[in-house]
């Protein structure tokens, strides 16, 4: 037994990573959604993502909360040259954010900052987030041919918790379910995971595509385990105890009655 407990303690120490995000940190993911432009991304004047290409989603970076200067220059451009895009981004403690370079509705480049929903998801569900960041008209998002998000304009997002599983997802022109822009036959929404889908590029220019980020570990425990309706387990009091106590009580009553009679 002691050995087992020791083994358990040893196992606990081995739990990998345990990269406990300090509450004073935030998490940032960077998405490249501007077509035909390889870039260098500078954070506080330091080259952080060199040669960042269209459609790429970075792994999450854990950063101390605070303000960050984000400068985006064409790949290989001099660090002192004027950036193509620049933005001061505030990262609050505990936040999970995505910084995205993308096109606005007119096809101009911009930087978008998204706050990702990392609140707990009910057991059995996953979360789907759709962000329209492409040079394209408003769209509808259909899941299994039912409308999930309607009339989403550039710069907007839709967030929904759904039962975990595979969904047929279609991006269509707003109001016209037959005008399918893109179809994902089986988008898997894993349990406890926020799957974030970005529509990027220029629909007219042929560079329209999807990019996906997913954040797992948002699961909750089931509320309980209902595992018996028979009542066969019986009471905790065994029959022999009941019989013994009844006999003992009867004996004492008989003795008591006798005792009272004899005294009279």
């Amino acid at each position: 037994m002691r050995k087992a407990i020791l083994a358990l303690v040893a196992l606990m120490m081995l739990v990998p990573g345990m990269a406990l995000a300090q509450s004073s940190d935030g998490v940032v993911t960077v998405v490249h959604g501007v077509p035909d432009l390889d870039v260098d991304v500078y954070v506080n004047d330091a080259l952080t993502l060199p040669g960042f290409t269209y459609g790429t989603v970075t792994d999450p970076l854990t950063l101390p909360a605070g303000d960050y200067d984000i400068d985006i220059r064409a790949a290989g451009a001099d660090a002192s040259s004027d950036p193509v895009l620049t933005e001061l981004v505030t990262l609050p403690a505990g936040a999970n954010a995505t910084i995205e370079a993308n096109l606005d509705g007119d096809g101009g480049p911009k930087i978008s900052v998204w706050v990702n929903d990392i609140s707990a998801i009910d057991a059995g569900n996953g979360r789907v987030t759709v962000r329209h960041t492409a040079a394209a008209p408003n769209v509808d998002i259909l899941a299994n041919d039912g409308e999930l998000f309607g009339n989403v304009p550039n710069g907007a997002e839709g967030v929904a918790d759904v039962a975990a599983g595979d969904y047929n997802v279609k991006v269509t022109a707003a109001g016209d379910a037959s005008a399918v822009v893109q179809e994902v036959p089986a988008l898997t929404i894993p349990e406890g995971t926020n799957v974030i889908v970005y529509a990027i590029g220029d629909l007219g220019g042929g560079s329209f595509q999807l990019a996906v980020q997913s954040i797992s570990g948002l699961h909750s425990a089931p509320t309980g385990v209902p595992s018996g309706t028979g009542g066969d387990l019986g009471s905790n009091v065994p029959a022999w105890l009941v019989v013994s106590l009844v006999l003992a009580t009867t004996t004492m009553i008989v003795g008591g009655v006798k005792f009272a009679r004899e005294r009279n």
């Binding site: 037994m1 407990i5 358990l8 196992l11 606990m12 739990v15 990998p16 990573g17 345990m18 990269a19 995000a21 509450s23 998490v27 993911t29 459609g55 990392i118 009910d122 057991a123 059995g124 975990a164 822009v181 179809e183 994902v184 988008l187 898997t188 894993p190 349990e191 042929g206 329209f208 595509q209 996906v212 997913s214 797992s216 570990g217 699961h219 509320t223 309980g224 385990v225 209902p226 595992s227 018996g228 309706t229 028979g230 066969d232 387990l233 009471s235 905790n236 065994p238 105890l241 006999l247 003992a248 009580t249 009867t250 004996t251 004492m252 003795g255 008591g256 006798k258 005792f259 004899e262």
Partner: protein, 252 residues
């Protein structure tokens, strides 16, 4: 006079001996170091590690285009959620039970699904498989109205040290050893620990127990057994297992 006093004394002693015997022989509600397991599996929501995976779908034209289903990131399916192997069978010689293990999710009300068949065991498919970090949950009915006693009818008496064999879909077998057992009031069930996906690899068996409410047809407690992989790793043999008629072992 003497007779009547003797009767009273005998009655009193009988009651005393009966109560003493009961308190000494009944299965205690808690056996083993349950707290060590609860603590090892408890994580604050802040410390819970969040992993992010990323991918992008290849460029497609403006025309409607079908993306193949096997693009990485679009097939992080339940089946492929990092499980090398999934449990398909459970054998507990001390209870003389052999059962099929089926995959289970969540009921609409948020409770874990438990098989409709009293002879089956459910594995919580969204959590770890046995052997993976965290608590792998196998749940079964203690009994069901109309079906009688279930696979885990004897779980409330399973003693620490008892062997538990888990058969996997790849033909392998894991050997686990019961370490601790506790009967929790349902409202006190530590669900965050029991369904933890982090921490040491623990095999957790759950069923119902405690007092039965006949009008609600429900028990007021859950019996939980915590087990860990037996030292020396999984054994390929069936050593120590009483053969049970009707089912051949999957073990190689």
């Amino acid at each position: 006079m003497r007779n009547s006093v003797a009767l009273i004394v005998i009655g009193f002693l009988t009651a005393l001996i009966a109560l003493l015997t009961w308190s000494l022989t009944r299965s205690p509600e808690t056996v083993g170091d349950v707290v060590a397991f609860e603590d090892a599996l408890t994580f604050s929501s802040q410390s819970r590690s969040r992993t992010t995976t990323t991918t992008s779908i290849p460029e497609s034209g403006a025309d409607a285009e079908t993306v193949p289903a096997d693009i990485p990131g679009f097939t992080i399916g339940v089946e492929s959620q990092g499980h090398n192997r999934i449990p398909v069978g459970l054998r507990i010689p001390a209870l003389n039970k052999v059962a099929s293990v089926i995959q289970a999710g969540v009921e609409p009300n948020g409770d874990m699904e438990v098989p409709a068949n009293v002879d089956d065991v459910a594995w919580y498919k969204y959590g770890p498989a046995p052997g993976e970090p965290g608590s792998a949950v196998l749940a079964a009915h203690v009994d069901l109205a109309g079906q009688g006693p279930g696979v885990f009818f004897g779980l409330r008496d399973l003693e620490p040290g008892s062997a538990i064999y888990v058969d996997f879909d790849d033909g392998s077998t894991g050997v686990y050893e019961a370490q601790a057992r506790k009967t929790y009031q349902k409202e006190d069930l530590p669900t965050d620990a029991i369904f933890s996906r982090e921490g040491p690899a623990v095999l957790t068996l759950i069923t119902c127990g405690g007092d039965f409410n006949r009008s609600l047809r429900r028990y007021d407690s859950n019996v939980v057994v915590y087990a860990i992989e037996a030292s020396g790793g999984p054994s390929p043999t069936n050593e120590g297992l009483t053969p049970v008629a009707g089912r051949e072992s999957d073990a190689a």
